[in-house]
Symmetry: C2
Subunit: 467 residues, 2 copies
């Protein structure tokens, strides 16, 4: 398959070529000029999306896996050597490149806000540079989906929530990561079978319209499906007429019960879900099927779920709205150099300036509620809990990844501490306060003052070339 | 890494567990009841998103690769056998399952509209059912991105367009597929190195802010980068002050020229791009650098690109807006059973009813412009070009995937035939006409009439059980 379509998704998503070419053009220049001092990069979200009052960190386990496994494969090096600007000596040097740096990060399931580093990399400049693209990609997407998923759990705290999004996810990796991120945020499980196999996430399967359509009789389809899945049959009743479907469920229920089979639930997937659910509930109750639950799907976002709060619906299958985070399909995640060779650094681009130095987030709770975050320097003596913790040293994880249940528990505990105004689906009246510390402000002044000395002459002077 | 984070992205994205569990629960019931007659499923988009006048088909090469490689691996079967409802005999049957069906589809790069099948699968019911989720996923995402990308080419037909989106794409598969889909739609290339290696897509690399920040002097950073990449250095000039950066470029240009190095371009990434580009163009021109091109990036969507039409900008790096299709992050793609065991089928769910039978899209051009599409039956004698063509028979591709250049050429040719009102970025005054044929309408009436005979009693009667 020369130029055609085969997706050779790199084993474990760890290809070192999963990066922007500019990382490699920069590495070439770093290599040529010996820039391999220690760099400190921080990954953060510049701004919260308008429809989010807080974000939830996720994806760290994948990021660490990527860093530990980072290496160029022979075929990748061969390709690179064939591109302009990458001589054999540089390619040979890349062959030996590994990630040997330190990582500090917020554990998965931590609530965070704009400008707060989720992750800090401290490593020789070329290593820390190369990994930018993939680190952003992994933390950005999982955090995006966890931050969307938790809105559904806030909208329907007691309902069963299942990720139905694989088919509309942006590719298979997205579908898998979304299943995991949603589960971390409090979903009950996923329809994605592979996520069940990989991570032990509970999987849920119902039936599709095609099953009903493949039969001449809807009732026959129901009976056959229930017999094939006596453990928990969920019958899809909207293929032709939802209430007529519910009546058929009632009529077959007694016969199935005689065989020892209890129908688990019905699923509604179209039309006015509130109206249908109320009518179906009545049909089931009056027909002697009060134990048959009602599950709905069909293009619901968190607002749609919230609107069904008083409707007899026991669970929701959530697809597109979750898996592409439809109202906000991206976070403004960036990864910025904050220190190089012991010198704090910052960019001052319009609207995109950063705070320099190695930073820490100091979080203060009062009366069991989040009160404020301070963005301080790592070594600054500030009160509050330090949210970034050491997770890798010299390129190696400090502990194995926590079980998913531990992360789910962290999320539940974090939700307890969220102020009520952040917990709503609507925008909070004011953003949660995140203040740079005196140390950060002072360092910024120092860096700006120092860089006034920058002038064109240095460019050539430093490399010994006349200007 | 037991429960933790390792992404073992399945080799080639082809895992048979990349599916919704309900496909497997349905397969179990099909298997139990011997439903293995021929099924015909069609994949189509129910509605065009509000901001799209047409869509562009992409992803077929991946879909065919998936179908050809479909099989359950031993570890996948082992997992499935441990889930409730999947007995060993069923799991053994799955072990031998392969895709042996036929596929008809629109070639990649074909313009299409709502309700038009992109792809039709004709196969034994269990096979055709199982592949639903992954087929939607592959065609949905690549078509989504190709359909977004072409809007940028319409907005800036002569500018260089480069995909910068990997970091914000929803995972690595999305990033790779987006690079390819954008290239098919007319982009000049991508920053994603792996897309270059895999598919030979031209790759473009500039420099990042961190490269500038790692130096004490911006000018020194520029000189070093230009020396490392004399073949085509693109210098990022907005780290501190865009116009000051442009002046530094002018001041180092003569010295570099003396070394035989011509600076290729500068990149602007922040602030008012139009104002900066005009000022930078003047600084470069007046400084004797008329050959240094101006490349911009920085959160541009197609409208932002169109607004820069009269501004001296030679190229655009397009990130998030492209790679998550930010204004419309999903297509309403579905895959529906249209015939089973020789009988046409349809669903009649509210707002989601389908046209039954094996269908074909008959396209008519008049005076070199698309005039209308008719959604007809495959064997109906209708005028117009048949847009679905045979691409696989008995599970095997009929030809190797076309080179990407062939697809790009098809896109260019299709654009020529697009009526002017569909080519704008704004919504066309009326949707392009797609009409169901007399044959489709008649078949729908027949199916609806026949299914009136459906009643509950059949459910048990057909399986010999008293109701």
């Amino acid at each position: 398959m020369a130029e055609g379509g085969v997706i050779r998704t790199p084993s474990r998503g760890r290809s070192a070529l999963l990066t922007d070419l500019y990382q490699l053009t920069m590495l070439k220049a770093y290599w040529e000029h010996g820039l391999h001092e220690t760099a400190v990069f921080e990954l953060f979200v510049r701004r919260l999306p308008p429809n989010r009052n807080f974000l939830l960190a996720a994806g760290l386990a994948h990021a660490l896996d990527y860093l530990e496994g980072l290496r160029f494969q022979p075929d990748e090096l061969e390709w690179l050597g064939g591109q302009p600007g990458f001589p054999p000596a540089f390619v040979d040097w890349l062959a030996d490149l590994r990630f040997t740096g330190d990582v500090d990060a917020m554990p998965e399931g931590t609530v965070f806000f704009a400008e707060e580093p989720l992750l800090r990399v401290t490593a020789p400049l070329p290593q820390a540079q190369l990994v930018e693209t993939r680190l952003i990609s992994l933390l950005n997407y999982s955090s995006l989906i966890a931050s969307k998923a938790i809105r559904f759990t806030l909208a329907a705290p007691t309902a069963r929530l299942v990720d139905f999004g694989l088919r509309r996810a942006h590719g298979s990796e997205a579908g898998l990561l979304a299943a995991r991120a949603a589960y971390l945020a409090g979903f009950d499980g996923t329809a994605t079978a592979l996520a069940g196999q990989r991570w032990g996430i509970p999987t849920f399967g119902t039936m599709g319209h095609s099953f009903v359509q493949a039969h001449d009789s809807e009732a026959e389809a129901f009976v056959r499906f229930a017999r094939a899945h006596p453990e928990n049959a969920v019958l899809l009743i909207d293929t032709y007429d939802t209430e007529a479907g519910a009546s058929k469920v009632v009529e077959i229920a007694a016969g199935l019960r005689a065989e020892g089979i209890e129908i688990g639930a019905v699923r509604l997937d179209s039309g006015d879900l509130a109206a249908h659910a109320r009518r179906v509930r009545r049909i089931l109750d009056e027909g002697g099927c009060p134990g048959v639950r009602i599950f709905t799907s069909g293009s619901l976002d968190e607002h749609g779920v919230a609107r069904l709060a008083d409707v007899p619906v026991d669970g929701f299958g959530i697809g597109t709205a979750l898996t592409v985070s439809a109202d906000e399909p991206a976070l403004d995640s960036v990864y910025k150099l904050q220190e190089y060779a012991g010198q704090p650094r910052r960019k001052r681009s319009e609207g995109k300036a950063t705070w320099p130095g190695r930073k820490q987030v100091f979080r203060t709770c009062e009366h069991g509620r989040l009160a404020r975050d301070v963005l301080g320097l790592e070594d600054e003596a500030l009160s509050g809990e330090a949210m970034l913790v050491p997770v890798a040293r010299a390129g190696v994880r400090l502990r194995s990844d926590p079980p998913l249940e531990e992360i789910r528990e962290r999320v539940r505990a974090s939700l307890e501490t969220l102020p009520a105004e952040l917990r709503g689906l609507e925008s909070a009246p004011a953003p949660f306060p995140v203040e740079p510390s005196p140390g950060v402000r002072e360092l910024t002044r120092e860096v700006d003052h120092r860089s006034c000395g920058d002038d064109v002459g240095e460019g050539f002077a430093a490399t010994g070339t006349p200007g």
